[in-house]
Amino acid sequence: MKRILVGIKRVVDYNVRIRVKPDNSGVITDGVKMSINPFDEIALEEALRIKERGAAEEVIVATVGPADCQSQLRTALAMGADRALHVQADGVIEPLVAARALLKLVEREQPLLVILGKQAIDDDNGQTGQVLAALWNRPQATYASKLELTGNSARVTREVDAGLETLEVELPAVITTDLRLNEPRYVKLPDIMKAKKKPLETLTLSALGVEPRQQLKLVRFEPPPQRQKGIRVKDAAELVEALKKKGLL
């Protein structure tokens, strides 16, 4: 069966104002709204569109994380994923551990594509897709803004610093998504009801044979230095004057 595996991560919602805990041990997440990482939502949307075009038959959504992640998996099922895999794991999940777990799922499910967000908006690491592609020894096309499947390969337009780059990758491959790939659909109420009946399988890292090793010690979280609030100028002339005085114009 032609499958697409989509990796998602539960993160603090992008609208939440981030505050560092007073003891510098992390950021405050108690009572904070959690969501699917926005880039992963784009990854799922793309997988669903590929299936709707008839180029894939099944969309599987997977995550590695604590029990709470199941609510994001249910949202993904409501968006249209066919089934969900939850690799239960507590504590910090580094990209290498996430990629190793995803690789185990890849070996089991044999997808033609794995699509993930280009980065999670919490740790901003931006590594998991590339690490998975390396461990799997398959192509990677990161920062995708356009994806076309043609037989055994994919043509991917990437948003790079220079502009837009197009790569052709043989399948199976790992794709990571950029913002302009698509606009994810809204979940409708009947779909939320339907999602409750879709299969959600729970696995563990140890059952997959993945060691939850943490290679980086998180020493200290701090708020960023604040910029001093500046002054208001009344018109263009005053602005030009001020900038000239500072030697900026």
């Binding site: 590339q130 990758v169 010690k217 500046g230 030009v240 001020a242």
Partner: protein
Amino acid sequence: MSSKILIVAEHDGAKLNPSTARCVSCARTLSGAEVTIVVCAVDAGAVAAQAAQLAGVNRVVTIENAANAHALAAVLAPQIVAIAAPYTHLFGPSTTFGKDLMARIAGLLQAPQVSDIMAIESATRFRRPIFAGNAILTVETSADEKMVGTVRAASFEVAGAGGAAAIEKANVQVQLPTHTRFVSVSAAKTDRPDLMTAARVISGGRALGSAEGFKILYSLADKIGAAVGASRAAVDAGYAPNEMQVGQTGKIIAPELYMAVGISGAIQHLTGIKDARTIVAINKDGEAPIFEVADFGLVGDLFQVIPEIERLLS
């Protein structure tokens, strides 16, 4: 054990990208570190010569292969890994080139990666922004293990010239994958300064209204020798191409002067400009969050203000 840092050069086959010189500055903040730059190319000569001139570089290693005509992470990563053994740290720039490549290298090495290094506190301690720059995290790696890092360009100056490092050719014999092929790249040609390195940047937001509306910014930019950037909203609306996007998911820049024109100042945009020396905000809405970070704020109609500034400079 003293640190041996390998920096992966970013280049276009002829010219070394300034992001590499920023990686050198980052590496040099670790006292006593030995710094090597590796240049992967078809013909590495010109780029290697530029790399060898950077102050603080001890050695340049070239890996030449016909497969290196384009920077494909899947092709470059095994070549870098082949020479990685003696090094304690492998650095690349936090550009799309470096972010794509370094994590693939980290995967092959099964080594930890520290993304977006903004400061080095010791050979094993690094500071990096998380949550779109809304928190700064200090992380520690193990001294017994190789680490991979991407260097946040805006946090470091470009290393100067004056070096005279030896250039060596590495003989790398590894099987390279053929599953990934370069097709094309479309980059708008511009005579304006590069957005990543420009001393002055003028960025426009959705308030510019159209690609046509951006013309007043281009005109002023040309007057003052500035690069032009855009907010995500303006790029999404098609007013400006993606390579102009400034912010968390676009370019992170640190110009002397940043003028935000018709940009409200979403957190994701502010992440991209936090290190600018002076920020100017021009916006019709006096309540826009951009004014919270601006050194100079002007509430007004940008379609009047921008031509007026240009006229005053004539």
